[in-house]
Symmetry: C3
Subunit: 417 residues, 3 copies
């Protein structure tokens, strides 16, 4: 089965689950991810202090509906979990449409779509529905029921680690707190799973984080030593048909920023400067951490009409787009893993490559071979200030040629690092 096909199947399987920042929907999601890649699972109790935040009560919901005077359910959680405002407190009441209206959320400009709304940190309740559904409701009394619980429990997240040759880590983080929304972020989850499966004996240790947005990332940051995190990507909106968009880390010139710019250079793409809005790069790039973590999406955060609506369904994401996102990340991590800063051990004049079999012996030819050029570039710029990506950019050569030259020179004892 092609990667695109099973990634899309994974999106479809995860789609119906009612996820939020806590609760059984999150656990069910981690269960399914765990069928593909082993997960370390964590449960952090309600009330735990994580920096400026407190892990909230756990929210679970069984049913919710609005029924008309005839008992007919005009809005029903069973049809779509988007119908209930996330973290709604329990409700059981009969009220007029006028009383109900302040609790109803629609998208007047997209009358057939249902919006996605939450109220995590302020007790509230509400329903989301299509504008055309609302327009069809007659005045009168309605029975309103939200069978939810908000109670002490846990915040759940999972990690998958691919051990590397060094303890320095690359993190790949995806939020898993959105309910039936496919591009945001089940496509990201699916690509992350595929990426984890594809990594074989990498240089860096790769840590995949499946966590609720904001509170999840803050919880993780509070509970872990981030000094080992050298690079990272927040992965979201990985499956729509738009061009890839890389948003730089707050540093702006972190190695991951240069790697992604390099890998994307020959594709249609956008590169955006960091801004403190979007996904969990907001937390990883808060000034106290300032990690080298960028964000890869296709169409970015809030950049498409379907964003945070019922139109962001599995049809909205394509197998080909997810494969393309996956391919870019695989190439990026291949480059990242080989990118190093070497030191020329023979820096006074050029070393004699010929006596080591590294140089074409018949001189005077005007066509310098690319491999030899790459060796000369690596030797010349291996001064501690330039990594292989810098040398690639300066030389105009291919990264693979430069990295191969560095390998050959290291094997010959001419560079170290």
């Amino acid at each position: 089965m092609r990667d695109g096909a099973w990634m899309h199947a994974l999106v479809e399987r995860l789609y119906p689950l009612c996820r939020s920042i806590t609760g059984d929907g999150v656990r069910a999601t981690l269960d399914i991810i765990g069928e593909h890649i082993p997960l370390d699972r964590y449960e952090v109790p309600t009330g735990t202090q994580v920096f400026d935040w407190t892990v909230p009560q756990e929210w679970n919901i069984r049913d919710a509906w609005i029924a008309d005077a005839d008992g007919k359910r005009v809005v029903d959680f069973a049809e779509s979990n988007l119908h209930v405002v996330g973290y709604s407190v329990p409700v059981s009441a009969t009220m007029s449409l006028a009383e109900l209206r302040p609790h109803l959320h629609t998208l007047p400009d997209r009358p057939s779509w249902v919006p996605y709304r939450t109220s995590y940190y302020s007790p509230a309740w509400g329903f989301c529905l299509a504008q055309e559904t609302l327009d069809a409701l007659p005045e009168g009394d309605y029975e309103v029921r939200i069978d939810s619980t908000l109670a002490d429990g846990h915040l759940s997240y999972g990690e998958h680690v691919v051990p590397g040759q060094v303890a320095d880590e690359v993190i790949v983080s995806c939020h898993i707190c959105h309910p039936s929304l496919a591009n945001d972020n089940l496509a990201g989850v699916a690509v992350a799973v595929a990426l984890a499966k594809a990594l074989v004996n990498p240089w860096y240790t790769y840590r995949f984080l499946f966590m609720p947005g904001t509170i999840g990332a803050i919880t993780w940051l509070a509970r872990n030593d981030v000094d080992r995190v050298k690079h990272g990507v927040v992965l979201a909106c990985a499956g729509d048909r738009g061009d890839l968009t890389y948003k730089r880390s707050r540093r702006g010139d972190a190695e991951i920023d240069r790697v992604l710019a390099h890998v994307l250079r020959d594709r249609p793409h956008r590169i955006l400067d960091f801004s403190p809005y979007g996904y969990d790069e907001r937390q990883f790039c808060s000034p106290g951490f300032n990690l080298g973590v960028g964000s890869l999406t296709r169409t970015p955060y809030a950049g498409y009409p379907e964003y945070h609506t019922s139109a962001d369904n599995p049809d909205f994401v394509s197998p080909a787009a997810m494969e393309d996102t996956l391919a870019v990340l695989r190439e990026a991590f291949a480059v990242l893993d080989r990118n190093r800063r070497y030191t020329n051990l023979s820096p006074y004049g050029e070393p004699q490559l010929g006596k080591r079999g590294l140089y074409d012996s018949l001189g005077g030819r005007s066509d310098a071979k690319q491999a030899q050029m790459a060796m000369l570039w690596v030797l010349n710029l291996s001064d501690g200030d330039h990594d292989l990506l810098d040398i690639t950019r300066r030389s105009g050569l291919e990264f693979d040629a430069v990295a191969a030259a560095a390998d050959a020179l290291r094997d010959a004892g001419l560079v170290a690092g």
Copy 2:
């Protein structure tokens, strides 16, 4: 009375006075300024050493003329003080036109205009007149009289201080040494007076300097502690109908340079790099001081034909142009006064704005409010390296929104500085 109207009236009132780098014309000018804003007045004796210079003798003049054989005054100081070369030594002689000619200055290309000339530091005398006046003079003997005195006295200047909440100072400096020239620099004086009147309880202490050019600025620098001067503007040519021109400080990226670039960005304007010519920015930006002092003019130094001629009269300056110059400086100082570098006190992840009432509680909406965006930007970049203007530029938000966000965050105890 609108600002433009009374500023123009002030220009007209100051216009007839015969100013120079010293003398009673300077004192009369300070008297009139002092009617509008209180002035601290200083008199520095002739012979005082100020760095590489010496305060010169004081020059005063009562009358001067050239009369023809019939006793008719063909050039007369009483008509315009421009007719006499500034700092002319006394003369009482009869001489032929041929002998007189080397002492006569005209503008052949502008035959009806009278030029402005001085000879401060080299004993000389002369008259300035229209080329067409000169052309009409018959050969023959002329009686020449300059009733001036050059004697030990004082160099005069005045200061007006608007106390701020901090002792750090912003200086606004205008030269007051030019006689009947309106744009250069009575318009600057008038705008400075209006600006001083408009400042209410500023953050910085604002010091307005009304001094003769070059020797006045050097004298002031020699007699004061410039460490308290954090920012400044040399104000000149403030009333012509050309676009505003900001000339950067020698530093090129001083805070005042960034403030003026920000305030001018939506108006027609020019921004010039520093050059060591022009007005007293030459002294404030000499390498031993290198202050953050730029220069604001409309059409810059020597950039209009009327410059240093009798055509730079009160008609050449417009009330509207002076109001525009004033408006820009008021806005610039409002920005400067609020521009600060804050430190995020909760830098590990985002702080929870919601629990402080600083965040819209119903999440999931795709339209982030500008005020919230401003708070996120201020939090993210308040790392000691970025001031609010930097954050304004990076975020693309309005300065006022960014400053308001900083105020709210400071009040909530989330940032300090």
Copy 3:
């Protein structure tokens, strides 16, 4: 005799000699250079270790040919020294054309031209010939003879020093290892000789290096204290009819880079970033040395079809082109010699130029004289961070005006350095 004429005559005289990285052809070349300018000659024994390299055996050749079955020489070293692969081992054999072919080098795309080939560090032999000569050879047996010797001897190079007022050095380096190739590098040798003759009492000490490529430069670097080398130019391909090309030093912003950019700015020219290929800038700019040494050529390395072929003959280089190269270097060294970093000794405000006779005494004139502007610029930027070239660029004035202003200010005791 015009410089172009005698430089071209020198090219023609040197052209027939069979040069290589060692041997009597190099010595004969140094003899002829020594007729024009005194040379210090060095002979470094075979086997001497120079950094990662070893001085090779000395190669000399007396005769070489391929004769057909009739004894007719179809390829003859006596006609052109390009016919033999440089450093060919001795051969005396009879072989079929098929056996011979692997030892024959042609340029199929340029059938009438003979290529230039060498095999310095790998024992081999071969002939270079025109493709059309090869095509005309019938099958059959050929007598092959290379009367060469490879034996312990010396590597030879020469230096010419023009003593300066300071011991800091500028090096001008040209390779002298190529046999009958005119632009590469007899034109460079001729321009270097002319340049050496033209330097009179310079500020810097100028050292001209006539050395074989690569091994010669490495040998020189191993035997000398390079700390005294402050600037330098590798000179090659100095006589073709293309535009001048300056290749920056590895530093990219070395003073020599700024000087050449300044001198070339008003001519058609190219400026290239450093790359670790080309001529001996490769060695001078290896990371252990990283000297401020750029490379001046007309059409650069390998950039013309005649490169390393028999078509690079004396007709390919023009007297006018060599004169132009010479003129640019003379101007560059004139600028380099005067370029200094001064310190303003009167940095608090402007010093009073008038009392020193350095300022026009009659003020108020709107046309500032260039000489006075240059003095103000030099005073303002003489803070230890800017040299005269920086001031030239910032001011837009001519370098000569700026340097003259600095001289006047230094003579007046206002600047030092």
